[in-house]
């Protein structure tokens, strides 16, 4: 069964123009997806629409058979969809620990919350060391790890990460991609948006090319990586 279906969604900001001009695609359980496309294509807008920060103007988002297009972000979160936004979305003046507590905000049971924090500290030991440091004082790589760790607090069914390698040195980016690969091994469904298309596709099963609010191409990540036309248009020459 498909986990998520985006059906003919159009969306935009305020009274502005449509940024998404009728997008459809399907996400299957346990796979990793990568959305690529030029700046301003509407990739981030798509993720925001899925998690309820933006209401679709038309079309719908169906999750596990339920239409979630008109739910509030917290209600969508409760159903198991977590977003790591492009700007990381940390609380700059809160400590690393407090950020994780906020990641588990909808968990009301203190014990489960503490258990969750310990689990993500095991995945990201560096964060444990930095536990009482304010988020804004972390390095870029640590901030990205904290953002992902915070999303993991809820053990989401579907994890969406917007530009995981943005602003990171190659070595750190590689670490982040390794972490994403490990999510897949844990059985999680992951949807990433990535500028660094080659790296993004390399960790994914399936790829979507988005341009000007429309889907241009979709297919197996390995096929997209090999496709000459797409290489020329979206991946840049080697």
């Amino acid at each position: 069964m498909s986990l998520l279906r985006v059906e003919n969604v159009t969306a935009g900001y305020g009274v502005g123009p449509d940024i998404l001009a009728g997008i459809s695609f399907t996400v299957e359980v346990g796979k990793t997806y990568c959305i690529i496309g030029p700046n301003g294509a509407g990739k981030s807008t798509l993720l925001k629409t899925i998690c309820g920060l933006l209401r679709p103007r038309d079309g719908k988002v169906v999750y596990m058979g339920e239409d979630i297009s008109h739910l509030r972000p917290d209600q969508i979160l409760m159903r198991g969809i977590c977003l790591v936004p492009q700007e990381r979305g940390l609380f700059p003046d809160m400590t690393v620990r407090e950020n994780l507590v906020m990641g588990g905000y909808i968990i009301k049971d203190r014990e489960i919350l503490e258990h969750g924090i310990n689990q993500v500290f095991n995945i990201f030991p560096i964060l444990k060391e930095r536990g009482s440091q304010r988020a804004k004082t972390l390095s870029g790589g640590e901030q990205q790890m904290l953002a992902m760790a915070r999303a993991l607090m809820l053990k989401p069914e579907l994890l969406m990460i917007d530009e995981p390698s943005l602003g990171l040195a190659p070595k750190l980016a590689r670490e982040i991609f390794d972490t994403i690969r490990s999510f897949k091994e844990l059985g999680m469904t992951v949807l990433i948006v990535e500028q660094n298309a080659r790296k993004g596709l390399a960790v994914s099963d399936w790829g979507y090319v988005l341009d000007l609010g429309r889907e241009r191409f979709e297919g197996k990540a390995s096929e997209i990586l090999a496709d000459e036309r797409i290489q020329e248009l979206y991946l840049g020459k080697k």
Partner: protein
């Protein structure tokens, strides 16, 4: 030198109350990005309630905080729920809230003028004219009580923000509203509660103000102007900044008033506002303004 310290003590003892006023305003701004121009008028509203309670039922003005705070909290929740949700999605939200708060201030001021007339009022319990003497220094009892109560309330607020679930949600929303939504905070609900809390603080400040200052309906413009300078000095949206700004300016105003004469006192606030905007517009504790 003794003289100097005496003036500083008097300044600090008013600073606590200024801090209470500024904190309410900052809480509302921080969570909702609303500059609540009606904050001053709601302080006066609470001051008039305190006056009524004192004149009719002999309720001590400082104790009447127990009535004005919850009253203002629920009034705040009611006002927020009826007025704000309908404009929240507007692309002109910011401008609309300023006009809305401005209109609210005019209406309440008009109402106060209608019921209480424009004459100068103050609440005068027996201790209003008494002082505490310690060594060569003194401090008016009302100012001491007022400051102690302010500090107590600010301490409670601090504990609420740092140790409760709703407190975490309020802080998170102040620091990054979109991210708060992403982790599942119902920011509408948090906004309602924060507006109520800010109004409750205005209520407490109003009760204290009624003993320490004379008031009349139009006086709130002067108060809101002073409060704006306090929170701009501290850095818009920073609670720590509001607190520090309030203490600094209260002392500065007391010193100016003592050495240059009381007529110069109001100028202190506006000069500070002007200088801060000119030299360090983000204030002492504020973030540089980059994202809307």
């Amino acid at each position: 030198m003794t003289q100097f310290f005496q003036v500083v003590i008097l300044g600090l003892s008013l600073g606590g109350i200024y801090a209470l006023m500024a904190t309410g305003l900052t809480l509302i701004f921080g969570v909702m990005r609303i500059i609540n121009l009606a904050h001053g008028v709601f302080m006066l509203f609470a001051a008039y309630i305190t006056l009524l309670l004192f004149n009719n039922f002999q309720i001590d003005p400082i104790l009447s905080i127990l009535i004005t705070m919850p009253l203002m909290f629920f009034l705040g929740v009611g006002i927020y729920k009826t007025l704000f949700p309908r404009i929240i999605d507007s692309p002109r939200y910011m401008e609309m809230t300023i006009l809305l708060a401005f209109g609210l201030a005019m209406i309440v001021e008009g109402g106060l003028g209608f019921f209480f007339t424009g004459i100068y009022r103050s609440v005068n319990p027996s201790y209003a004219i008494e002082i505490f003497q310690f060594g060569t220094f003194y401090i008016p009892k009302a100012q001491l009580f007022g400051t102690l109560v302010s500090i107590l309330l600010l301490g409670l607020l601090w504990a609420l923000l740092n140790y409760t679930r709703i407190g975490y949600a309020v802080r998170a929303t102040m620091q990054n509203r979109a991210a708060a939504q992403i982790v599942g905070v119902n920011v509408e609900r948090v906004s309602t509660i924060a507006f109520g809390l800010g109004m409750a603080l205005a209520g407490a400040a109003g009760s204290l103000l009624s003993v320490l200052f004379t008031f009349f309906p139009a006086k709130h413009w002067q108060w809101i102007a002073i409060l704006m300078s306090l929170i701009v000095l501290g850095g818009l949206g920073s609670l720590m900044g509001a607190f520090t700004g309030a203490l600094l300016l209260a002392v500065a105003a007391a010193l100016v008033s003592h050495y240059l004469g009381p007529t110069w006192q109001p100028i202190t606030f506006f000069l500070a506002l002007f200088l801060v905007l000119l030299i360090k517009p983000e204030g002492l504790f504020g973030k540089k303004m980059e994202e809307g």
